[in-house]
Amino acid sequence: MLILFSLLLLGLSVAVLLQKRLLNAVILLGVFSLVSSVIYFWIGAPDVAVTEGAIGVAFVTFIYVLALSDQGKLHVIAEEVPPFLFQEKGELQGVELEILRGFAEEINLELEVEFVGHQELTSLIGGRRADVIAGAYFPGYLAEEELSNSKSYNQSQLAKIHRSSGAKGGIGILEETDLSEFTEVNEEDLSRFSSLEEMVRAYNEGRIRGFISDSGRMSASLYRVNTPLRDESEIVTLGEVKYGFAVSAEEENLLDRLNDYLTEAARSGRIDDLLSDHFR
Protein backbone atom coordinates (compact mmCIF):
# COMPACT_ATOMS: atom_id res chain seq x y z
CA MET A 1 0.00 0.00 0.00
CA LEU A 2 2.80 2.37 0.95
CA ILE A 3 4.65 1.54 -2.26
CA LEU A 4 1.46 2.16 -4.23
CA PHE A 5 1.04 5.60 -2.70
CA SER A 6 4.70 6.39 -3.32
CA LEU A 7 4.33 5.41 -6.97
CA LEU A 8 1.24 7.63 -7.13
CA LEU A 9 3.39 10.49 -5.81
CA LEU A 10 6.00 9.72 -8.46
CA GLY A 11 3.39 9.86 -11.20
CA LEU A 12 1.97 13.11 -9.81
CA SER A 13 5.39 14.77 -9.70
CA VAL A 14 5.97 13.87 -13.35
CA ALA A 15 2.48 15.11 -14.21
CA VAL A 16 3.14 18.46 -12.47
CA LEU A 17 6.26 19.04 -14.53
CA LEU A 18 4.63 18.03 -17.80
CA GLN A 19 1.77 20.52 -17.50
CA LYS A 20 1.69 23.29 -20.05
CA ARG A 21 -0.67 25.49 -18.07
CA LEU A 22 0.63 26.76 -14.76
CA LEU A 23 -2.72 26.65 -13.00
CA ASN A 24 -3.11 22.91 -13.70
CA ALA A 25 0.39 22.33 -12.37
CA VAL A 26 -0.44 24.21 -9.16
CA ILE A 27 -3.61 22.20 -8.58
CA LEU A 28 -1.72 18.96 -9.21
CA LEU A 29 0.90 20.09 -6.71
CA GLY A 30 -1.89 20.46 -4.15
CA VAL A 31 -2.94 16.87 -4.87
CA PHE A 32 0.71 15.83 -4.52
CA SER A 33 0.85 17.39 -1.05
CA LEU A 34 -2.42 15.74 -0.08
CA VAL A 35 -1.16 12.29 -1.06
CA SER A 36 2.11 12.85 0.81
CA SER A 37 0.07 13.93 3.85
CA VAL A 38 -1.86 10.64 3.65
CA ILE A 39 1.46 8.77 3.58
CA TYR A 40 2.66 10.61 6.71
CA PHE A 41 -0.49 9.62 8.51
CA TRP A 42 -0.11 6.04 7.30
CA ILE A 43 3.42 5.61 8.62
CA GLY A 44 2.76 6.97 12.08
CA ALA A 45 3.61 10.65 11.78
CA PRO A 46 0.34 12.47 12.50
CA ASP A 47 2.03 15.73 13.51
CA VAL A 48 3.77 15.99 10.15
CA ALA A 49 0.59 14.94 8.37
CA VAL A 50 -1.51 17.71 9.92
CA THR A 51 1.07 20.41 9.22
CA GLU A 52 1.74 19.25 5.67
CA GLY A 53 -1.98 19.00 5.01
CA ALA A 54 -2.68 22.56 6.12
CA ILE A 55 0.36 24.15 4.49
CA GLY A 56 0.81 22.09 1.34
CA VAL A 57 -2.83 21.82 0.38
CA ALA A 58 -4.29 25.12 1.54
CA PHE A 59 -1.59 27.78 1.80
CA VAL A 60 0.81 26.87 -0.98
CA THR A 61 -2.01 26.42 -3.49
CA PHE A 62 -3.58 29.68 -2.37
CA ILE A 63 -0.48 31.84 -2.71
CA TYR A 64 0.41 30.26 -6.05
CA VAL A 65 -3.06 30.99 -7.37
CA LEU A 66 -2.86 34.56 -6.09
CA ALA A 67 0.57 35.06 -7.64
CA LEU A 68 -0.68 33.62 -10.92
CA SER A 69 -3.84 35.70 -10.91
CA ASP A 70 -2.09 38.80 -12.17
CA GLN A 71 1.31 37.90 -13.42
CA GLY A 72 2.12 35.92 -16.48
CA LYS A 73 -0.41 38.07 -18.28
CA LEU A 74 -0.06 40.82 -20.80
CA HIS A 75 -2.90 43.20 -20.10
CA VAL A 76 -4.08 44.90 -23.24
CA ILE A 77 -6.69 47.62 -23.11
CA ALA A 78 -8.35 48.64 -26.31
CA GLU A 79 -11.26 50.39 -27.89
CA GLU A 80 -13.31 48.14 -30.07
CA VAL A 81 -12.58 49.10 -33.67
CA PRO A 82 -13.82 46.41 -36.07
CA PRO A 83 -11.10 45.42 -38.46
CA PHE A 84 -8.37 46.02 -35.89
CA LEU A 85 -9.54 44.46 -32.67
CA PHE A 86 -13.11 43.48 -31.99
CA GLN A 87 -15.41 40.86 -30.59
CA GLU A 88 -17.74 38.75 -32.66
CA LYS A 89 -20.02 36.10 -31.16
CA GLY A 90 -18.00 36.18 -27.96
CA GLU A 91 -14.71 35.65 -29.74
CA LEU A 92 -11.90 38.13 -30.07
CA GLN A 93 -10.84 38.88 -33.61
CA GLY A 94 -8.79 41.31 -35.61
CA VAL A 95 -5.36 41.96 -36.99
CA GLU A 96 -4.04 43.50 -33.77
CA LEU A 97 -5.13 40.43 -31.85
CA GLU A 98 -2.97 38.24 -34.09
CA ILE A 99 0.03 40.54 -33.64
CA LEU A 100 -0.39 40.83 -29.87
CA ARG A 101 -0.99 37.11 -29.50
CA GLY A 102 2.30 36.44 -31.27
CA PHE A 103 4.05 38.99 -29.06
CA ALA A 104 2.59 37.53 -25.87
CA GLU A 105 3.72 34.08 -26.94
CA GLU A 106 7.17 35.46 -27.67
CA ILE A 107 7.57 36.87 -24.17
CA ASN A 108 5.88 33.87 -22.54
CA LEU A 109 2.88 35.68 -21.13
CA GLU A 110 -0.80 35.06 -21.49
CA LEU A 111 -2.69 37.66 -23.48
CA GLU A 112 -5.63 39.32 -21.83
CA VAL A 113 -7.66 41.87 -23.76
CA GLU A 114 -10.01 44.24 -22.03
CA PHE A 115 -12.24 46.56 -23.99
CA VAL A 116 -12.63 49.95 -22.38
CA GLY A 117 -14.05 53.31 -23.26
CA HIS A 118 -12.03 56.04 -24.90
CA GLN A 119 -11.70 58.06 -21.71
CA GLU A 120 -10.48 55.18 -19.55
CA LEU A 121 -7.45 54.42 -21.69
CA THR A 122 -5.00 56.90 -20.16
CA SER A 123 -6.15 56.48 -16.57
CA LEU A 124 -5.79 52.71 -16.78
CA ILE A 125 -2.31 52.82 -18.20
CA GLY A 126 -1.29 55.52 -15.73
CA GLY A 127 -2.57 53.45 -12.81
CA ARG A 128 -0.53 50.45 -13.99
CA ARG A 129 -3.60 48.33 -14.40
CA ALA A 130 -2.73 47.64 -18.02
CA ASP A 131 0.42 47.16 -20.08
CA VAL A 132 -0.44 47.96 -23.69
CA ILE A 133 -2.94 50.22 -25.42
CA ALA A 134 -4.28 48.80 -28.67
CA GLY A 135 -7.33 49.23 -30.86
CA ALA A 136 -6.33 51.37 -33.85
CA TYR A 137 -4.03 53.51 -31.75
CA PHE A 138 -1.82 56.04 -33.48
CA PRO A 139 0.64 58.62 -32.13
CA GLY A 140 -1.32 61.73 -31.29
CA TYR A 141 -4.52 59.86 -30.65
CA LEU A 142 -4.09 60.41 -26.92
CA ALA A 143 -2.37 63.61 -25.85
CA GLU A 144 -0.60 61.99 -22.96
CA GLU A 145 2.99 62.54 -22.00
CA GLU A 146 3.14 59.36 -19.94
CA LEU A 147 2.90 57.21 -23.04
CA SER A 148 5.55 55.97 -25.40
CA ASN A 149 4.61 54.81 -28.85
CA SER A 150 5.78 51.63 -30.42
CA LYS A 151 6.76 51.14 -34.05
CA SER A 152 3.89 51.14 -36.47
CA TYR A 153 2.61 48.16 -38.37
CA ASN A 154 0.30 49.93 -40.82
CA GLN A 155 -0.28 53.34 -42.36
CA SER A 156 -3.48 55.11 -43.08
CA GLN A 157 -5.00 58.55 -43.39
CA LEU A 158 -6.40 61.02 -40.97
CA ALA A 159 -9.57 62.16 -42.63
CA LYS A 160 -12.36 64.66 -42.21
CA ILE A 161 -15.87 63.76 -43.18
CA HIS A 162 -18.34 66.58 -43.63
CA ARG A 163 -21.56 67.35 -45.37
CA SER A 164 -21.20 68.71 -48.84
CA SER A 165 -23.93 71.30 -48.41
CA GLY A 166 -26.21 73.08 -46.01
CA ALA A 167 -24.60 72.17 -42.75
CA LYS A 168 -23.93 74.11 -39.61
CA GLY A 169 -22.15 73.46 -36.31
CA GLY A 170 -18.57 72.66 -35.51
CA ILE A 171 -16.28 69.86 -36.42
CA GLY A 172 -16.40 66.88 -34.09
CA ILE A 173 -13.31 65.30 -32.69
CA LEU A 174 -12.54 62.85 -29.91
CA GLU A 175 -11.28 64.16 -26.61
CA GLU A 176 -7.54 64.15 -26.10
CA THR A 177 -6.73 63.72 -29.76
CA ASP A 178 -3.79 65.95 -30.59
CA LEU A 179 -4.06 67.75 -33.91
CA SER A 180 -1.07 70.07 -33.63
CA GLU A 181 0.52 68.41 -36.66
CA PHE A 182 -2.44 69.29 -38.85
CA THR A 183 -2.69 73.03 -38.62
CA GLU A 184 -5.48 73.45 -41.18
CA VAL A 185 -8.04 72.89 -38.46
CA ASN A 186 -9.08 75.83 -36.38
CA GLU A 187 -9.18 75.05 -32.67
CA GLU A 188 -12.32 77.16 -31.97
CA ASP A 189 -14.15 75.30 -34.66
CA LEU A 190 -13.80 71.97 -32.88
CA SER A 191 -16.26 70.38 -30.53
CA ARG A 192 -14.97 67.52 -28.40
CA PHE A 193 -16.71 64.18 -27.86
CA SER A 194 -15.95 61.47 -25.37
CA SER A 195 -16.80 58.55 -27.64
CA LEU A 196 -17.03 57.71 -31.29
CA GLU A 197 -20.66 56.60 -31.04
CA GLU A 198 -21.71 59.90 -29.55
CA MET A 199 -19.88 61.79 -32.26
CA VAL A 200 -21.49 59.78 -35.05
CA ARG A 201 -24.90 60.25 -33.49
CA ALA A 202 -24.34 64.01 -33.33
CA TYR A 203 -23.33 63.96 -36.98
CA ASN A 204 -26.40 61.95 -37.90
CA GLU A 205 -28.62 64.40 -36.08
CA GLY A 206 -26.99 67.37 -37.74
CA ARG A 207 -25.58 68.95 -34.62
CA ILE A 208 -22.11 69.07 -36.15
CA ARG A 209 -21.21 69.56 -39.72
CA GLY A 210 -18.48 66.96 -39.81
CA PHE A 211 -15.90 65.11 -37.82
CA ILE A 212 -12.25 64.20 -37.93
CA SER A 213 -10.98 60.73 -37.35
CA ASP A 214 -8.54 58.22 -38.73
CA SER A 215 -9.74 56.24 -41.68
CA GLY A 216 -9.92 52.98 -39.74
CA ARG A 217 -12.41 54.39 -37.29
CA MET A 218 -14.07 56.32 -40.10
CA SER A 219 -14.86 53.20 -42.11
CA ALA A 220 -16.10 51.48 -38.97
CA SER A 221 -18.34 54.42 -38.14
CA LEU A 222 -19.63 54.87 -41.68
CA TYR A 223 -21.63 51.69 -41.24
CA ARG A 224 -23.51 53.42 -38.49
CA VAL A 225 -24.21 56.56 -40.52
CA ASN A 226 -27.55 56.58 -42.28
CA THR A 227 -27.48 56.00 -46.01
CA PRO A 228 -28.70 59.44 -47.09
CA LEU A 229 -26.03 61.06 -45.00
CA ARG A 230 -23.39 58.81 -46.43
CA ASP A 231 -24.36 59.89 -49.90
CA GLU A 232 -24.23 63.56 -48.96
CA SER A 233 -20.88 63.32 -47.24
CA GLU A 234 -17.50 64.26 -48.49
CA ILE A 235 -14.22 62.92 -47.18
CA VAL A 236 -11.05 65.02 -47.11
CA THR A 237 -7.65 63.63 -46.25
CA LEU A 238 -5.77 65.71 -43.71
CA GLY A 239 -2.62 63.72 -43.20
CA GLU A 240 -1.08 60.38 -42.49
CA VAL A 241 -1.42 58.29 -39.37
CA LYS A 242 0.66 55.31 -38.38
CA TYR A 243 -1.14 52.62 -36.46
CA GLY A 244 0.83 51.13 -33.62
CA PHE A 245 0.61 50.45 -29.91
CA ALA A 246 1.39 52.45 -26.80
CA VAL A 247 2.87 51.47 -23.48
CA SER A 248 3.51 53.44 -20.33
CA ALA A 249 6.58 55.67 -20.61
CA GLU A 250 8.21 53.97 -17.65
CA GLU A 251 8.03 50.54 -19.23
CA GLU A 252 11.09 50.78 -21.42
CA ASN A 253 11.77 47.05 -21.42
CA LEU A 254 8.30 46.22 -22.65
CA LEU A 255 8.56 48.86 -25.36
CA ASP A 256 11.91 47.48 -26.52
CA ARG A 257 10.56 43.98 -26.77
CA LEU A 258 7.43 45.11 -28.57
CA ASN A 259 9.50 47.06 -31.07
CA ASP A 260 11.84 44.11 -31.58
CA TYR A 261 8.89 41.86 -32.21
CA LEU A 262 7.21 44.28 -34.62
CA THR A 263 10.43 44.75 -36.60
CA GLU A 264 10.95 41.02 -36.81
CA ALA A 265 7.34 40.39 -37.84
CA ALA A 266 7.52 43.10 -40.51
CA ARG A 267 10.74 41.66 -41.90
CA SER A 268 9.40 38.13 -42.09
CA GLY A 269 6.32 39.39 -43.94
CA ARG A 270 3.96 38.10 -41.29
CA ILE A 271 2.37 41.50 -40.78
CA ASP A 272 1.74 41.94 -44.49
CA ASP A 273 0.03 38.55 -44.63
CA LEU A 274 -2.14 39.48 -41.67
CA LEU A 275 -3.04 42.86 -43.14
CA SER A 276 -4.03 41.38 -46.47
CA ASP A 277 -6.09 38.77 -44.65
CA HIS A 278 -8.00 41.26 -42.56
CA PHE A 279 -8.24 44.29 -44.83
CA ARG A 280 -8.77 42.54 -48.19
Binding site: A45, D47, V50, A54, F59, F62, I63, L66, S69, R128
Partner: protein, 233 residues
Protein backbone atom coordinates in the same frame (compact mmCIF):
# COMPACT_ATOMS: atom_id res chain seq x y z
CA UNK B 1 21.99 26.83 -34.95
CA UNK B 2 25.38 26.27 -33.32
CA UNK B 3 24.07 27.72 -30.11
CA UNK B 4 21.01 25.52 -30.24
CA UNK B 5 23.11 22.38 -30.64
CA UNK B 6 25.32 23.45 -27.78
CA UNK B 7 22.43 24.04 -25.40
CA UNK B 8 20.81 20.71 -26.34
CA UNK B 9 24.01 18.80 -25.60
CA UNK B 10 24.39 20.67 -22.29
CA UNK B 11 20.86 19.68 -21.40
CA UNK B 12 21.51 16.01 -22.04
CA UNK B 13 24.70 16.29 -20.01
CA UNK B 14 22.75 17.73 -17.08
CA UNK B 15 20.13 15.00 -17.33
CA UNK B 16 22.72 12.23 -17.48
CA UNK B 17 24.76 13.61 -14.56
CA UNK B 18 21.75 14.08 -12.32
CA UNK B 19 20.20 10.74 -13.15
CA UNK B 20 23.51 8.97 -12.46
CA UNK B 21 24.00 10.89 -9.21
CA UNK B 22 20.56 10.20 -7.87
CA UNK B 23 20.65 6.63 -9.16
CA UNK B 24 23.77 6.10 -7.07
CA UNK B 25 22.04 7.60 -4.02
CA UNK B 26 19.01 5.40 -4.57
CA UNK B 27 21.10 2.24 -4.87
CA UNK B 28 23.00 3.29 -1.79
CA UNK B 29 19.79 3.82 0.12
CA UNK B 30 18.56 0.42 -0.96
CA UNK B 31 21.61 -1.74 -0.35
CA UNK B 32 24.14 0.03 1.85
CA UNK B 33 21.73 0.68 4.69
CA UNK B 34 20.57 -2.45 6.42
CA UNK B 35 17.08 -2.94 7.70
CA UNK B 36 16.18 0.24 9.50
CA UNK B 37 15.25 0.53 13.10
CA UNK B 38 14.65 3.41 15.49
CA UNK B 39 17.83 5.49 15.64
CA UNK B 40 19.80 5.58 18.86
CA UNK B 41 18.78 9.14 19.70
CA UNK B 42 15.19 8.44 18.77
CA UNK B 43 15.14 5.46 21.11
CA UNK B 44 16.51 7.67 23.88
CA UNK B 45 13.81 10.27 23.33
CA UNK B 46 11.12 7.59 23.27
CA UNK B 47 12.41 6.18 26.54
CA UNK B 48 12.60 9.56 28.20
CA UNK B 49 9.12 10.57 27.21
CA UNK B 50 7.92 7.38 28.84
CA UNK B 51 9.52 8.57 32.06
CA UNK B 52 8.13 12.08 31.97
CA UNK B 53 4.56 11.86 33.06
CA UNK B 54 3.16 15.04 31.59
CA UNK B 55 4.49 14.69 28.03
CA UNK B 56 3.04 11.81 26.09
CA UNK B 57 3.80 13.01 22.55
CA UNK B 58 7.41 11.98 21.89
CA UNK B 59 7.65 14.21 18.81
CA UNK B 60 6.77 17.22 20.92
CA UNK B 61 9.29 16.21 23.58
CA UNK B 62 11.96 16.40 20.85
CA UNK B 63 11.11 19.76 19.29
CA UNK B 64 9.62 21.40 22.37
CA UNK B 65 11.98 20.29 25.11
CA UNK B 66 15.19 18.51 24.19
CA UNK B 67 15.84 20.27 20.91
CA UNK B 68 14.13 23.55 21.60
CA UNK B 69 17.11 25.52 20.28
CA UNK B 70 16.64 23.91 16.85
CA UNK B 71 13.03 25.00 16.90
CA UNK B 72 13.91 28.47 18.13
CA UNK B 73 16.36 29.12 15.32
CA UNK B 74 14.02 27.68 12.71
CA UNK B 75 11.39 30.08 14.03
CA UNK B 76 13.93 32.86 13.56
CA UNK B 77 14.44 31.79 9.94
CA UNK B 78 10.69 31.87 9.41
CA UNK B 79 10.53 35.32 11.01
CA UNK B 80 13.28 36.51 8.67
CA UNK B 81 11.34 35.33 5.62
CA UNK B 82 8.21 37.06 6.90
CA UNK B 83 10.25 40.19 7.65
CA UNK B 84 11.46 40.24 4.04
CA UNK B 85 7.89 40.02 2.84
CA UNK B 86 6.69 42.84 5.11
CA UNK B 87 9.56 45.09 4.00
CA UNK B 88 8.67 44.54 0.35
CA UNK B 89 5.04 45.03 1.21
CA UNK B 90 5.89 48.57 2.34
CA UNK B 91 8.04 49.29 -0.72
CA UNK B 92 5.66 48.03 -3.38
CA UNK B 93 2.58 50.05 -4.19
CA UNK B 94 -0.54 48.04 -3.54
CA UNK B 95 -3.49 48.06 -5.87
CA UNK B 96 -6.30 50.34 -4.78
CA UNK B 97 -8.79 48.55 -2.61
CA UNK B 98 -11.88 49.93 -4.26
CA UNK B 99 -11.10 48.54 -7.68
CA UNK B 100 -11.61 44.87 -6.84
CA UNK B 101 -14.47 43.44 -4.88
CA UNK B 102 -14.68 39.91 -3.53
CA UNK B 103 -17.12 37.62 -5.24
CA UNK B 104 -20.39 37.83 -3.37
CA UNK B 105 -21.57 34.39 -2.38
CA UNK B 106 -24.06 33.89 0.42
CA UNK B 107 -23.21 30.22 0.84
CA UNK B 108 -19.51 30.95 1.30
CA UNK B 109 -19.94 33.92 3.63
CA UNK B 110 -22.60 32.19 5.76
CA UNK B 111 -20.57 29.01 6.09
CA UNK B 112 -17.45 31.05 6.81
CA UNK B 113 -18.99 32.84 9.78
CA UNK B 114 -20.19 29.45 11.01
CA UNK B 115 -16.95 27.55 10.40
CA UNK B 116 -14.38 30.15 11.42
CA UNK B 117 -14.90 29.84 15.22
CA UNK B 118 -14.73 26.05 14.94
CA UNK B 119 -11.44 26.22 13.03
CA UNK B 120 -10.04 28.76 15.49
CA UNK B 121 -10.99 26.63 18.48
CA UNK B 122 -9.51 23.57 16.84
CA UNK B 123 -6.25 25.42 16.22
CA UNK B 124 -6.10 26.63 19.82
CA UNK B 125 -6.89 23.13 21.04
CA UNK B 126 -4.05 21.66 18.99
CA UNK B 127 -1.68 24.32 20.29
CA UNK B 128 -2.60 23.70 23.92
CA UNK B 129 -2.62 19.92 23.78
CA UNK B 130 0.61 19.38 21.87
CA UNK B 131 2.20 17.41 24.69
CA UNK B 132 -0.74 15.04 24.91
CA UNK B 133 -1.66 14.17 21.35
CA UNK B 134 -0.82 14.82 17.74
CA UNK B 135 -0.79 18.43 16.66
CA UNK B 136 1.44 20.92 18.36
CA UNK B 137 2.35 24.54 17.94
CA UNK B 138 3.15 24.36 14.25
CA UNK B 139 -0.06 22.60 13.28
CA UNK B 140 -2.13 24.81 15.61
CA UNK B 141 -0.72 28.04 14.19
CA UNK B 142 -1.15 26.88 10.63
CA UNK B 143 -4.74 25.80 11.21
CA UNK B 144 -5.49 29.19 12.77
CA UNK B 145 -4.06 30.68 9.60
CA UNK B 146 -6.40 28.50 7.55
CA UNK B 147 -9.29 30.13 9.40
CA UNK B 148 -7.98 33.54 8.34
CA UNK B 149 -7.70 32.23 4.78
CA UNK B 150 -11.37 31.25 4.90
CA UNK B 151 -12.35 34.69 6.24
CA UNK B 152 -10.29 36.43 3.57
CA UNK B 153 -11.96 34.36 0.87
CA UNK B 154 -15.47 34.93 2.17
CA UNK B 155 -15.54 38.47 3.52
CA UNK B 156 -12.74 40.15 1.63
CA UNK B 157 -9.22 40.92 2.71
CA UNK B 158 -9.94 44.48 3.77
CA UNK B 159 -12.40 43.54 6.46
CA UNK B 160 -10.21 40.70 7.67
CA UNK B 161 -7.24 43.02 7.88
CA UNK B 162 -9.34 45.47 9.86
CA UNK B 163 -10.30 42.76 12.33
CA UNK B 164 -6.68 41.69 12.80
CA UNK B 165 -4.95 45.03 13.11
CA UNK B 166 -1.47 45.23 11.69
CA UNK B 167 0.23 47.28 14.41
CA UNK B 168 -1.09 45.17 17.27
CA UNK B 169 -0.04 42.06 15.35
CA UNK B 170 3.49 43.44 15.07
CA UNK B 171 3.66 44.11 18.82
CA UNK B 172 2.27 40.66 19.52
CA UNK B 173 4.98 39.21 17.29
CA UNK B 174 7.73 40.88 19.32
CA UNK B 175 6.10 39.76 22.54
CA UNK B 176 5.95 36.17 21.34
CA UNK B 177 9.56 36.24 20.19
CA UNK B 178 10.56 37.61 23.61
CA UNK B 179 8.58 34.85 25.27
CA UNK B 180 10.24 32.11 23.22
CA UNK B 181 13.70 33.55 23.81
CA UNK B 182 13.14 33.89 27.56
CA UNK B 183 11.93 30.30 27.77
CA UNK B 184 15.06 29.21 25.92
CA UNK B 185 17.38 31.24 28.14
CA UNK B 186 15.67 29.96 31.30
CA UNK B 187 16.12 26.45 29.98
CA UNK B 188 19.82 27.11 29.49
CA UNK B 189 20.26 28.56 32.98
CA UNK B 190 18.51 25.84 34.95
CA UNK B 191 18.60 22.08 34.56
CA UNK B 192 15.51 20.89 32.80
CA UNK B 193 14.29 18.92 35.82
CA UNK B 194 14.28 21.88 38.20
CA UNK B 195 12.66 24.00 35.61
CA UNK B 196 9.92 21.49 34.91
CA UNK B 197 9.19 20.91 38.56
CA UNK B 198 8.90 24.63 39.22
CA UNK B 199 6.57 25.45 36.36
CA UNK B 200 4.90 22.12 35.75
CA UNK B 201 2.98 21.85 32.52
CA UNK B 202 2.87 25.64 32.32
CA UNK B 203 6.19 25.93 30.56
CA UNK B 204 5.15 23.38 27.95
CA UNK B 205 2.05 25.41 27.21
CA UNK B 206 4.20 28.56 27.08
CA UNK B 207 6.48 26.96 24.47
CA UNK B 208 3.53 25.76 22.47
CA UNK B 209 1.66 29.02 22.51
CA UNK B 210 4.74 30.98 21.49
CA UNK B 211 5.37 28.63 18.54
CA UNK B 212 1.72 28.68 17.51
CA UNK B 213 1.42 32.48 17.73
CA UNK B 214 4.64 32.97 15.79
CA UNK B 215 3.49 30.67 12.99
CA UNK B 216 0.01 32.17 13.01
CA UNK B 217 1.27 35.74 12.73
CA UNK B 218 3.72 34.73 10.02
CA UNK B 219 1.10 33.04 7.88
CA UNK B 220 -1.25 35.95 8.46
CA UNK B 221 1.41 38.41 7.26
CA UNK B 222 2.09 36.34 4.14
CA UNK B 223 -1.60 36.00 3.30
CA UNK B 224 -2.15 39.69 3.95
CA UNK B 225 0.69 40.62 1.61
CA UNK B 226 -0.47 38.40 -1.23
CA UNK B 227 -4.09 39.45 -0.95
CA UNK B 228 -3.13 43.11 -0.75
CA UNK B 229 -0.96 42.99 -3.85
CA UNK B 230 -2.87 40.56 -5.98
CA UNK B 231 -6.42 41.48 -5.15
CA UNK B 232 -9.23 39.20 -4.12
CA UNK B 233 -9.50 35.72 -5.50
Amino acid sequence: MEMGKYSVSMKTLYVVVIVVLFGAITIGALFMVGDSEVSRLGAVYLERSQEISNISNAVFSVYGMYRFYDTLFELLIFSTAVLGITIFSDLEPSIDSGSRKPVESHVVSASASFLYPIIAVFGIYLAFSAHLGPGGGFAGGVIGGTGILLLALAKGAEETARNFREDSMKQLEYLVLFLALSVAILGALYPIKVYRDALGTGVITLVNISIAMKVFIGTWAILHFFVKHRGEV
